[in-house]
């Protein structure tokens, strides 16, 4: 089971939130890798591995939306669920427009997150950027 478990990447600057989400996703059977910032992600992540990206928007340094755009620009289209503590309609609209799977304002229920992650994982495998 563990062998073919999907890998979920979590990027959040908040240590507690990272750990909480990691545990939750693990109980749902995913393998989880966490990153503290956009920069950390760009340095360490193997994008081809990721089945889903849980991305916090408000972070010191490069924010989540900018990272997502950079990934798209780099040809990496990872199904992404945005989370944010600062609900902002404009941001949500922008995220969805860019092809995000979901946009979850903190605080969210486990079902909401897992449903979104599941939807992301079930998306057709990434294709090379057009």
């Amino acid at each position: 089971m563990i062998e073919d478990a999907k890998v979920v990447f979590v990027v959040d600057d908040d240590h507690s939130v990272r750990r909480g989400l990691e545990r939750l996703l693990r109980t749902a059977g995913y393998r989880v890798t966490t990153f503290v910032s956009a920069r950390d992600f760009l340095e360490r992540a193997d994008c081809a591995q990721a089945a889903c990206l849980v991305l916090d928007i408000r972070m010191p340094g490069q924010n989540g939306l900018d990272l997502y755009e950079a990934l798209l620009d780099g040809g990496y289209r990872i199904p992404t669920v945005f989370i944010t503590g600062h609900a902002d309609l404009l941001m949500a609209a922008r995220a969805m427009k860019l092809g995000a799977v979901d946009f979850l304002p903190k605080v969210f229920d486990d079902e909401a997150l897992l449903t979104a992650v599941r939807a992301a994982v079930d998306e057709p495998p990434p294709t090379a950027a057009s």
Partner: protein
């Protein structure tokens, strides 16, 4: 008498009529004198025993100024002609005799005037001796040569006989008649004003003299012993003449001699008297020589006695005057301003009475340079006899230290006053005393005016003022203090009156538990002891159930005896206003604080959402594990531990929020502004994150503590930071930072620099005004409230533009007093 300054006198003019009258009088006297001379001529000898015309001329020349002499010469010509024409032959002798008569008078007058200081007075031995030598001896001696020469040349005769008869006759006439005429003018007035007894005595003297003269020179009766020589009998005259000389002076002596001479001449002509046995010509000569021998010592004696008597009188007079002067001087030495008026009135009266003045008035010189009569003394109208001269008036200036303060106006009863020589200088001396008194009076008036001004100022103060002596006892209070002291129902150290021990009163209140009294008593004690230069405090005081506040200030009294001035003013109203203002400020601060927190809602939500998200995720993960039958206890413990941490984190956020929102009384505590800044920055973490702004802190270590209210100062910092965040904006600029700095520059200095657009020119002060805002949603109260808070903490707040871009807001608050920098 020293010559008086011209302005002292209003001398009556000597008119033409007066000169003419004198001329007629001289001519008539000359005529009458000549006729008398002829009458006294011995039938057997062609020479008079007395020849009055020459003596009359001598007296005239002595009494009148030299410049008028020619008038008398002319005036006498007709009289001379009337007498001589038809009597004297040849006629040329008439002119010669005119010349010789005048020559004697001129020599006598010039001689006396040359040597005597007062030619018309014979009241001293010196003056009398000059008169006797010049007029009595030299003039007859010289002129008799001329006379005898003229007579022998024009009519013939023995030159030596004529010279001898002329000489003795002229000497006797000059000594008796000339002196009588001269002195009669001076002494006659004295005799008229003399006491009744003296006049009676002089009448008795004249009677006795006449009687004795008759006995000696005229009597020829059986009651006189035939064998008694008449010359011995003549000695009877001596006591009478001495009586006249000693008691009545030179005038009386020469008058007596004149009378005796007349009687002796009459007796001689009738072959009676002491020299009746001699031949006629020798009889006259013997008589003349005898009379001359008596006259000269007698006149000298009279002069000496008179001189002595006058010296004695002058001495007495001077002693009296000096006593008066001493009395007046001492009167004015220790006098209050009230007593000066009475003393000056008394002084004027004493002056007037001493000199027999008619009126004495003291004038003061006003500021407008006008004289006004201040005090006057009027002599009793009946007290002075009307003198032969009209009353005179004169004025003496009153000077003190070179300033003219007034004048003394005097009207004399007679002029000049007979009382004493040198009276004018004496009046001047008294004027000096009055001048000093006047100066003193004016000085005291000035002092009094200044003091009444000071007390009027003190009385008009609404602040209550009391003056304490060195021991803290009240020695003076003003009207406001007295008014307050009479208010009922007040019992505190603010209430006591003069002579009460103010300091002790506060000490007692301190022992009775008055919280402020101890500090007040200590402060007053320090000012009185010279330890500190001023002390002030505000203290409450309950009266009539109301609490009233007083501001008390104590300053040292600058005088050698020490002491202090206490002033108390009621400040209840000001204090209430201050308290109201403080309350208003707090409410406004709270209001702006809560509205500021409203602005922070989004970032606060973010701040809370983080732990809440973590908690929920952890809890649900745990539940899911349990549901799945997984019982990894270590994992569960880790989850629970994370939940507890996150819950605490959320609690802190709530706590910080509540601190800012809750309305409460401000409290003053020692605060470390560095810590306070860090706290506020934590509150803003999410906001900074949202706006993608970095805060750079440059905090100086070991900053001194400040005394203040934590929440209010946090509000100030929060406002400055939010302003800085707003100014920085949401731009795309990547390195957006806000710099927060603390420094120690004699006060604790905090600055917040942004990199926005900076302040518009001219708005550096405006930004702190209420309702000044550049934000569409702002109320414009943030910085105004910040300023009121900083000022309430005794600090300053201001804004500057940065050299490159953006603005910096600064505030500085004083360090806590006990806090010193390490």
């Amino acid at each position: 008498m020293p010559p008086a300054p011209r302005w002292w006198w209003r001398q009556p003019d000597e008119g033409l009529a007066r000169v003419a009258g004198t001329a007629v009088l001289v001519a008539v006297a000359y005529y009458v004198g000549a006729r008398l001379g002829f009458l006294l001529q011995s039938p057997s000898v062609p020479t008079s025993v007395l020849w009055p015309p020459n003596a009359i001329l001598t007296a005239t020349l002595l009494l009148t100024p030299v410049r008028r002499w020619w008038i008398w010469v002319l005036a006498v010509i007709p009289a001379h002609l009337c007498v001589q024409v038809g009597v004297v032959h040849p006629p040329s002798l008439i002119a010669a005799l005119f010349v010789t008569n005048w020559s004697e008078a001129v020599i006598a007058a010039v001689g006396v005037r040359l040597f005597s200081d007062a030619p018309a007075r014979f009241d001293t031995l010196r003056r009398m001796a000059i008169f006797i030598v010049a007029a009595g001896l030299v003039a007859p001696f010289v002129s008799s040569f001329v006379d005898a020469a003229a007579v022998t040349a024009l009519r013939g005769g023995d030159y030596s006989v004529i010279w001898r008869t002329r000489f003795f006759s002229n000497v006797l006439t000059e000594l008796t008649l000339a002196s009588v005429i001269v002195m009669a003018l001076d002494s006659g007035r004295q005799w008229l004003t003399a006491a009744h007894e003296r006049r009676s005595e002089s009448a008795v003297l004249a009677s006795v003299l006449f009687a004795v003269g008759l006995i000696i020179f005229g009597a020829d009766g059986p009651w006189i012993p035939a064998d008694l020589p008449r010359s011995t009998l003549a000695l009877l005259l001596l006591p009478v003449l001495l009586w006249a000389a000693v008691k009545f002076g030179p005038a009386s002596a020469s008058l007596s001699l004149l009378l005796v001479t007349a009687l002796a001449t009459w007796g001689a002509h009738h072959g009676r008297g002491p020299f009746a046995t001699l031949p006629a010509a020798d009889r006259v000569i013997a008589l003349q020589i005898s009379l001359i021998m008596v006259a000269i010592p007698l006149l000298c004696l009279a002069a000496v006695v008179g001189e002595r008597r006058r010296a004695q009188t002058a001495l007495n007079d001077r002693l009296q005057f000096e006593a008066l002067l001493a009395r007046l001087s001492s009167t004015f030495v220790r006098l209050t301003a009230e007593e000066i008026d009475a003393a000056i009135r008394s002084c004027l009266a004493q002056l007037g009475e001493f000199f027999d003045f008619q009126r004495v008035a003291l004038f003061r010189l006003s500021d407008a340079d006008e004289f006004s009569e201040w005090h006057a003394w009027q002599g009793a109208a009946s007290a002075f006899a009307p003198g032969p001269s009209p009353p005179l008036s004169f004025e003496v200036p009153l000077l003190a230290r070179g300033h003219r303060l007034g004048k003394l106006a005097i009207e004399t009863g007679t002029a000049p006053p007979l009382r004493s020589d040198g009276w004018i200088s004496r009046v001047t001396m008294i004027a000096d005393i009055l001048g000093s008194a006047l100066a003193k009076k004016e000085a005291e008036d000035a002092v009094r005016a200044s003091e009444s001004m000071k007390s009027a100022i003190l009385a008009s103060l609404t602040t209550r003022v009391a003056v304490l002596d060195r021991a803290g006892r009240i020695i003076e209070v003003n009207e406001a203090w007295k008014r307050h002291a009479s208010e009922p129902g007040v019992d505190s150290p603010t209430m006591i009156g003069i002579d009460a021990d103010y300091l002790a009163c506060w000490r007692r209140a301190s022992r009775e538990g008055d919280a402020y009294a101890e500090a007040v008593a200590e402060g007053i004690g320090e000012v009185l002891g010279g330890v500190c230069l001023a002390f002030s405090v505000e203290f409450p005081c309950r009266s009539n159930g109301h609490e009233r506040w007083w501001a008390l200030s104590v300053v040292p009294l600058s005088r050698p005896e020490g002491g202090a001035v206490v002033s108390q003013a009621e400040v209840t109203e000001r204090r209430n206003t201050e308290i109201d203002a403080q309350r208003m400020r707090q409410e406004l601060a709270h209001f702006t604080r809560t509205s500021t927190m409203g602005e922070l809602t989004a970032s606060l939500a973010h701040e809370l959402n983080q732990p809440l998200t973590a908690i929920l995720a952890n809890a649900q993960a745990a539940r899911r594990s349990l549901d799945a039958g997984l019982t990894d206890v270590e994992e569960l413990r880790a989850i629970l531990s994370d939940i507890v941490d996150d819950d605490r984190r959320a609690g802190e956020v709530i706590h910080r929020l509540r601190d800012m929102m809750v309305k409460r009384e401000p409290e003053s505590l020692p605060l470390d502004l560095n810590l306070l800044l860090v706290d506020v920055i934590k509150l803003l973490t999410s906001d900074l994150l949202i706006h993608n702004i970095t805060i750079v802190t440059e905090l100086t270590a070991d900053l001194p503590l400040v005394q203040g209210d934590r929440v209010q100062l946090q509000q100030v910092v929060l406002n400055l930071l939010l302003n800085a965040i707003d100014a920085t904006g949401d731009g795309a600029n990547k390195d957006r930072t806000i710099t927060v700095r603390t420094e120690w520059l004699d006060s604790v200095h905090v600055s917040v620099s942004d990199e926005g657009h900076g302040l518009g020119s001219g708005t550096h002060d405006l930004v702190f005004q209420p309702f000044f805002t550049t934000k569409p949603t702002g109320m414009g109260m943030g910085l105004a409230v910040a300023r009121s808070i900083i000022e309430a903490h005794g600090g300053l707040i201001w804004a500057t533009d940065n050299p490159t871009r953006g603005a910096t807001f600064h505030f500085a608050v004083p360090a806590q007093q006990s806090s010193s920098r390490a």
